[in-house]
Structures are given as C-alpha cells and as structure tokens.
Amino acid sequence: MDWQGQKGAEIVMQIMLVVFAIAGLGIGYTIGSFPTMMLTYAGGVVLTALITVPNWPFFNRRPLKWLDPSEAERHPKPQVNVAAASKKKAPKHK
C-alpha cells in the first residue's frame, strides 16, 4: 500500500467498525436479542478485516514518485568530508 492508501485504510477501518457496532446495538436492542447484536458485529469485524488488512490494488493508486537514478546524480548530497579536509590544510599554510 502507498502512504495515501494506508491512511485511507485506517479511516475505512474505524468508520466501518463503529457503524457495525451501532447497527448491531440498534438491531439487537430493537429485536430484543443479544446474540443478534453479537453476530451482526462479528460479521462486520470480519468484513472490515477483509477490506482493510490485505494489500488490495485500490489502496495503491497514488504511489510516491521516486526520482530516476540519473536525476538523483545531478543533485548530489553535500559531502561532509570536504570541510574536515580543508581544516587540516589551514595550519600548514600559516
């Protein structure tokens, strides 16, 4: 999954679980059956897990654009060693 996909998966998980919990409570209380509430909620948990946990392709639609290797060579990382080398040379000149 890409970064946006991960965030999407988290939001989908939270919303789905809360929705199934409220639906389970509502149906169970209205019908007057505690097992109905538990089964509705358990089904919701399984469905949520099936949708958010595996690495589905629709969570990977906005991949990060990594730079090409040639592009990266044109912008080299600054070398820290250059400063240390010039310090060694300075006392000799004076």
């Binding site: 991960q6 998980m13 679980l17 809360v18 409570l25 007057g32 509430m37 897990a49």
Partner: protein
Amino acid sequence: MHSFSYRANAVVTFAVTILAVMCGMASLSDNFNSPSPTADVKVLNINWFQKQPNGNDEVSLTLNISADLSSLFTWNTKQVFVFVAAEYGTPQNALNQVSLWDGIIQSKEHAKFWIHTTNKYRFTDQARCSMPLFASGNNLRGKDFNLTLHWHIMPKTGKMFADKIVMTGYSLPEEYR
C-alpha cells in the same frame, strides 16, 4: 498502517475495544426497564415444629409460592435467581434471615410460576454459633415472621440488579408439635 500485521493488529484491537463499549451500553439499557413483578406465598401447613437435640428450634412448612417475574427479563438478562426467606427478630439479633427455597429462572416463559413444595432448606433457629453462652435457640415459638421473595437479575453483561417483595403476617404456633 504500515504492514499487513500492523493493520491486522489495529483491526483486532479496535474491534475488541468497541466490543467493550457495546457491552457497557447494553448494560446501561437495562436501566430503562421498569419491572412490575408480583408474588404471593401461602403457608398451607405447618408439618412439624420441634426442638432438635442440639437445642435449636426447627419447623417444617408446606408452601404455595406463586409469582410473575416476567417483567424483570430484558434482552440482556441471562437468568434470574429467586429465593424465599423467612425473616424474624429475636432478643439476640434484630434480623434473622433463613432461606427456605430458591430457584433459577432461565427464560421469560418460565418466569410466571406456581409451586407447591415443602421448604427446600431447613428452617431452624441456629443457636450453636460462635457464642454458645448467648445462644438459646428457643426463639421460634409463637414467633411472627415475614416471608420475603428476593430476586437477583443476572445480566449477560454488566450490572446485576437485586430487589425483593416483603409479605408480612405469618406466625408459628405457641407450642411444639
């Protein structure tokens, strides 16, 4: 939500936390129930009334217990424990309670019942406790007592409610028989 196992852990943890909240709310919903139970106990007969060898009075009763406890049941009720206790006062103790009969009701359909029975547990005035010098056990002759129907509503999740109905006006004979 970085990896498969991370997301799986997140789903399970959040689901269980929400389950705990759901059970709490199911328990809270029991407070909306306003029960209206009825009960009546008749003492049909005093079978015998004796002084036992250890000095305690003991009496055997035949009871007719009828009750309608169906309004106590909610969607969150596992079972109702009901018992009948005889209550009386003595010079030594202000309140003595002796359980005579109990039962477990597991569904609303069985909550309206009528039972004809002798007392399931012995009705004795217990003298032989930790203070033998104080005890007499001769307290039941001519004693007036109440019969109280207690119930405990045991939930599937959450808080247990307990209440009772007190019925007064019963008494034991003056002499042993």
